[in-house]
Amino acid sequence: MIDKILGKLELSFFRNLVIRQIRQDYLENMTGFAWLILQPLILLAVYAFVFSTIFKARIPEAGDIGFVPYLAVAFWPWTAFSEAILRANGSITANGALIGKVAFTTELIPLSSVTATFIMHIIGYLAVLIVLQLLGTHIYWLYLLLVIPVFLLMWLFACGIALFSSAIQVFVRDLAQILPPLVTFWFFTTPILYSASYLPESIQNIAQYNPMAWFVTRLRELLLFGEINLDFTALVIVIFIMVFAWASLRFFRRFSGHFEDFL
C-alpha cells in the first residue's frame, strides 16, 4: 500500500532537484540569500508599524511579550507556506522542456519546489528566533522539538496544495492570476496579525478548522508561552492533512501522464 502511494521514490534525483531549486531561487547571488531574510523582515516592520502605531492594535493574549514577537513567530511560517505554494504553482509549466524529453516521476517537480522553499525559510525562522531571544523575548527552545512535527504537517499540506494547483495550472493558465489574491485573502483570515479570539464567534467555529490558523496558534503557544494544546481539533487536522495529501497525489497522477500534450 505504502509502496503504491510513494511509487518509485527517486531519492537521489529528488535531492538533486531540491538543491538545484535552492541554488536557482536563493543562492544565485549573495543578495538572493540576504533578501530571503530581509524581505519578510521589512514586511514584518511594515505590519508592526501599521497595526501597533497607526491602528494601535492591542492583543491582550500577547501580554507583555509585545506585538512584534507575537507577529513574527506566526508570520515566518506563513511566509514559508504561502511562498511555497505560489512558487510551486508554475513549476510544471516552467519545467516543460524537461517533462517533454525525459521520463521521470513528475510529482517530484512541485514537491521539490515546496521542499526547497521550506528549507530556506526554516533557516530564516531559526535566525529570527535567535534575534528575538537576543532582543529579550523568552523563546521556549525545548519546544522546538514539537515545532518540527508541526512544520512537517504544514509542509505536507503545502505539498498537497502544490500538487493540486500545479496540475491544474497546466490546463487552466489563469490560475496563476487567481492564486495570489486567494492567498492574500487566506492570510488576512488566518489569525497572524491578530489573535483567533478577535474573530466573531460565528466565524470562529469555522475558522478553527483552517489548518493554517491551527498551525500558527500552536507555534505561538509552543515557542512564546510554552504551552502544549492537543485536543480533538489536532486529530481532525492531522487526519484531514493526510487524506488531503493522498487525494492530491491521486489527483496529480490522473493528469501527470498527459502534461506533455498541454505544455
Binding site: 527517486e10 537521489s12 541554488r23 517533454g100 524529453k101 525525459v102 491544474i168 498527459h258 506533455e260
Partner: protein, 393 residues
C-alpha cells in the same frame, strides 16, 4: 525470447489544446477519467516487441510518428490507448542536452542527469572518472553549461549515458552532431555495447546506418506500421516506395501547372542515337539534336539547347529566339527545332545536353529535359573546351 520492451495496440492521439476552453474541457474529461477531445492521430494501433540482441531500426518519412513512438517507448509520454511493458534498463538519448540546466556547471549537470537515470551518488562517484574521460572537455566541466559549445553538451550527455550501462539504448539521430572524432568514438562505443549483448533501438533516415547496426526494421507511415521484419526487405521496400513517390510527385507537379498553358517538351533526343544508354562521342564529332515542343495555343514556341558539365557547370547555351530561328510545324500544336553542334570541341568527360521549352515571347521556361553523354579521348589539355589556338614564334 527475452523481451525488453513490448507494446500492444498503442495509439497516441494528441488532444485539441489551442483554445483555453478546449484545455478546460480536456481537464474536465481527464478528471472524470475520460479521453479528451481528439485532435491529431500520431500513432495508430502499433504492436512491437523489442527482443534482447535484436537491434531495431525505425524508419519512415518526417512526421510519420517515429519520435512519438520513441517517447512512448521511453515513458516520456503515455499512449492514449494500449499497453507498454518495460522489462529492461533503458537509456534514452533523444536529446542529449535534455535536462541540462544552463546556469549550472557541467559537473552539477552530470550529477543531476545521472540521478535522473537512476544512478545513486555512490555509483556515480565510482564512474565519474570514466564519464569525464569520455566527455573529454577538460577544465570546462567546472564552467556553466551555457558557455559550452553544442558539441560539448552532446559529449557530456553521451558520456553520462555510457556510464549507466543500459540493456536497451534508444537514440534519435543524435549521432549526427559533434565533430568527426567524437562521432567515431560514439559509434565504437555503440558497437562495443552491442557486442556486450546490448540492444539498440534507433531512428534514422540513413538506410545505411540502419542496415549496418540493426537486425530488424520497423517502417511507420502516417502513424501505422507499414512493414515490420528483417532489416533488408523492409529498408528496401521503404526505399522503393520513396522513389516511386518522388516520381509521382513530379508528374503531379506537371499536371498541376495545367496542360492548357503548358509548352511541353514532347521529345528531346540526339539524332541517330535511339538507344537509351549514354552515348559517347569523340572530339570533333557532330552533335545533331532534335527538340519537339507541344504548343497549347498553336503559336510557335521558343526552344533552348545547351551543354552542361556533369558537375553542373554550364558550358554553352543558345536560345532560338535570339537568333531569329522559327521551329518547323510538324502538325497542329507540334513544333520541331533541329540544331547541330559541328566539330564539337568539348574536352573528354561527362556532359549533359539540356533542352528547354519557352513560350512564344521567350519570357518563361516551361519544361526541360536532359540527355547525358560523354566525350571520349586522351588529351592533357585542361578545362572544358578546346579553344582554337596556334603557338607562335
Amino acid at each position: 525470447m527475452d523481451s525488453l520492451v513490448k507494446i500492444e495496440g498503442v495509439s497516441k492521439i494528441y488532444p485539441r489544446v489551442h483554445k483555453s476552453h478546449e484545455r478546460l474541457q480536456a481537464f474536465i474529461s481527464l478528471l472524470f477519467g475520460r479521453e479528451p477531445a481528439h485532435g491529431a492521430v500520431v500513432l495508430d494501433n502499433i504492436n512491437l516487441d523489442v527482443v534482447r540482441g535484436q537491434s531495431l531500426g525505425i524508419i519512415g518519412e518526417n512526421g510519420a510518428g517515429k519520435s512519438t513512438l520513441l517517447k512512448v517507448l521511453t515513458g516520456v509520454i503515455q499512449p492514449t490507448r494500449g499497453q507498454v511493458q518495460v522489462q529492461a534498463k533503458i537509456a534514452a538519448m533523444l536529446e542529449l542536452g535534455a535536462g541540462f540546466q544552463p546556469d549550472f556547471s557541467g559537473m552539477d549537470n552530470v550529477r543531476m542527469k545521472a540521478s535522473l537515470m537512476g544512478m545513486s551518488s555512490k555509483e556515480l562517484d565510482a564512474r565519474l572518472d570514466d564519464i569525464l574521460e569520455f566527455a573529454d572537455i577538460g577544465e570546462y566541466i567546472h564552467e556553466p553549461v551555457k558557455h559550452y559549445s553544442s558539441g560539448m553538451v552532446v559529449r557530456l550527455g553521451f558520456a553520462v549515458v555510457t556510464a549507466c550501462e543500459p540493456d536497451l539504448l534508444i537514440t534519435d539521430e543524435v549521432l549526427a552532431v559533434g565533430d568527426e572524432s567524437f562521432q567515431k568514438k560514439c559509434i565504437r562505443w555503440i558497437e562495443q555495447f552491442m557486442k556486450r549483448g546490448g540492444t539498440l533501438l534507433l531512428v534514422s533516415h540513413s538506410m545505411y546506418v540502419v542496415q549496418k547496426l540493426c537486425q530488424r526494421a520497423l517502417w511507420i507511415h502516417e502513424g501505422r506500421v507499414e512493414q515490420y521484419g528483417e532489416v533488408f526487405p523492409v529498408t528496401q521496400a521503404y526505399l522503393a516506395w520513396h522513389e516511386k513517390r518522388s516520381a509521382r510527385e513530379k508528374e503531379k507537379r506537371i499536371e498541376a501547372s495545367g496542360d492548357g498553358a503548358y509548352y511541353r517538351i514532347e521529345q528531346f533526343n540526339l539524332v541517330g542515337e535511339e538507344d537509351d544508354s549514354t552515348p559517347a562521342f569523340a572530339m570533333g564529332d557532330d552533335l545533331s539534336i532534335e527538340l519537339q515542343i507541344y504548343s497549347p495555343d498553336d503559336r510557335p514556341p521558343v526552344g533552348v539547347v545547351g551543354v552542361i558539365r556533369a558537375d553542373g557547370t554550364p558550358v554553352y547555351g543558345v536560345v532560338s529566339d535570339n537568333e531569329d530561328v522559327k521551329p518547323v510545324k510538324l502538325s497542329d500544336h507540334n513544333y520541331r527545332f533541329r540544331i547541330c553542334f559541328n566539330d564539337i570541341r568539348l574536352l573528354p568527360g561527362s556532359y549533359n545536353l539540356s533542352g528547354h521549352s519557352m513560350d512564344p515571347e521567350g519570357v518563361r521556361i516551361f519544361d526541360n529535359r536532359q540527355i547525358a553523354f560523354t566525350i571520349k579521348g586522351n588529351t592533357k589539355e585542361v578545362g572544358y573546351i578546346r579553344l582554337p589556338h596556334e603557338w607562335q614564334d
